[in-house]
Amino acid sequence: MKTRNSNNIEPLRVAGRYKGYSKEELKRNLPRHCKFSPYILKQINNVADVTLRNSGSPLAKKINRMMKEVFSEAYRAKQFTRTEINNRGVLYGVVLLKHDVIDLVLRYFHERWPKCIVCLYNEHSRKTSLINEKGFIKEIKVPLIEVVEMVSEKHPIMPYFDDIQFSGKDIFETLYKSQFIKKRENPHYFKQMIPDHCYKLPGMRNGTEKRFLNNNRKLDEYIF
């Protein structure tokens, strides 16, 4: 069979992971779960790798579910957190994280805005987490606005960020509406892409997307 792949990857190399997680991955990431107990780690240490990777065993099922919850929460936060940036290079926003994944979310924003200080307020823990230009993370129990003010005081106004100080909410709303093709409407698929629980996230509560939810239809739309 012809190989169309231009880079010469060995065809039998496993792309991605084997099923399940390694013990190291579990030890590193399971403590992030809000319902984690050290007893689970003890159990993991006593069980063979094969049993953990076999999704049929009850322990593996539980662990996989917990890991999935942790990573999907981090992913949803990266997707749906809406941020603002001020003219002093402070990027800030609000998140709702039950599990301890704030560092993953902060690093995501830090990778994209390495010059900025990123502040994220977690509504669940009521703490504000910061990551600075060097990648150091700090967590403090102070409201977001105060943290942003405190950090901003120490930084001068930067022309780069000053240039993008205007409201973007309308711009995104207009862009979003312009992309929708009415004839291709597919509420089921839409719901799959943005499940209902995502509308509880701070960035999506008043989001444009919510207005297009199926249960938000006006009576007129049913009549005509």
Binding site: T3, Q79, R82, D163, I171, F190, I194, E209
Partner: protein, 431 residues
Amino acid sequence: MPSTLEKIRILGANSRYDICASTASSRTDKYPRLFGKSNDWIGATSSGGICHSYTPDGRCVSLFKTLYTNKCIYSCKYCYSSICKHKLSFTPEEYARTFMKLYSMNVVEGVFISSGVCGSADAVTEEMLEAVRLLRFKYHFQGYIHFKCLPGLSQYLLKEAISLSDRISINSEASNKEFLAEIAEQKDFTNDIILRQRWLKSLREKYNEKTIKELKDLEQDNYGKLSFQEKMIKERRKNGYKAFRWDGAPILNGGQTTQFVLGAVESETDWDLLNRIDWQYRKVDIRRAYFSAFIPIEGTPLGHKKPAPLEREHRLYQTDWLLRIYNYNLNDLKDIVDETGNLPNGDPKIHIARVYFKEHGPLDPNHSTYQELLRIPGIGPISAKRIVNLRAKKITFKSRSDLKSVGVVLKRADPFLKINGHNQTTLNNFI
């Protein structure tokens, strides 16, 4: 003077039928970053992009996707721009600034810049490139940029577009000259599309060969990668960005793509499209093809036509996946295409498997090759690789549950599998 919002509303609506994926991971950590590891650069493409929103049709909105201008000398019969009464254009500064605002809000992941052809393709592309230059060198954006090559574009501008963007696409629209003439008579299929695709291939290969070779030489060199990057950065400072050479990163990592309008020409069949795609994969090295089911727009010459079924789009994407990822041959698909030249309803992989396994009989995963495993529905490249790797470690599959634990979807794979000499019978077999 129209406001930016008005421009986004109209130019965004004009480009909504264009398809693109922001999730293309255009660069990897394998190569040095495009601009080195300086903290001055904003944005990231080393991992796959994230979709920040979805429209009610389920498609993601993760790129700033608008036309640069909807003024166009072409009058393609399916196109919204040709009948849109409001003719508007962005300015490069306005475009770049608006995008950076959206990027700071974490609502978009990159840029998709396309345009109507106002006057000459070169003049519009110059302006589009100016917007991209501003993004790259004023706003220091090193994230994902998808650039649309306009029909009739000069080679020197294409060269510059290559050096500035992650992905370039040229819309094929139809599978051959005759079909294109039916929907866009002013476009020349050979010159405007095929020739430009060939240029893209040769330019990219030439540039990347050079950079990969330099990288390899430097890895053997005592000084290592760091001195190479330093050398490149110095060179950039000396010559300005036009002579700027990417810091060893092979350019245009997202490759080139293309797009087809499905169902605008009635006589165009799925087989015609598959033939063209296969040719493009082999000859011009396109990364992937997109299909856009034709939707009639009132006021256009094709406004009275029936829309193409979305199902057709789905089948073609599935088949394209078989060609691209599963390395199926075009001849394998020939067996399932009906007399009219179209794909049947249902998963094409299952149709191909029914034909193939009728001849060859069910397969034993303990003795089949990687390519044979790929033919079984429910087994994809990853589970096939897992099976082959486990077999290499002398692990045999004794039951169906063994296969399930490596990720095989038994529901689909069962009728085509033989484990320990036994085949899972189905109700159909009895009937």
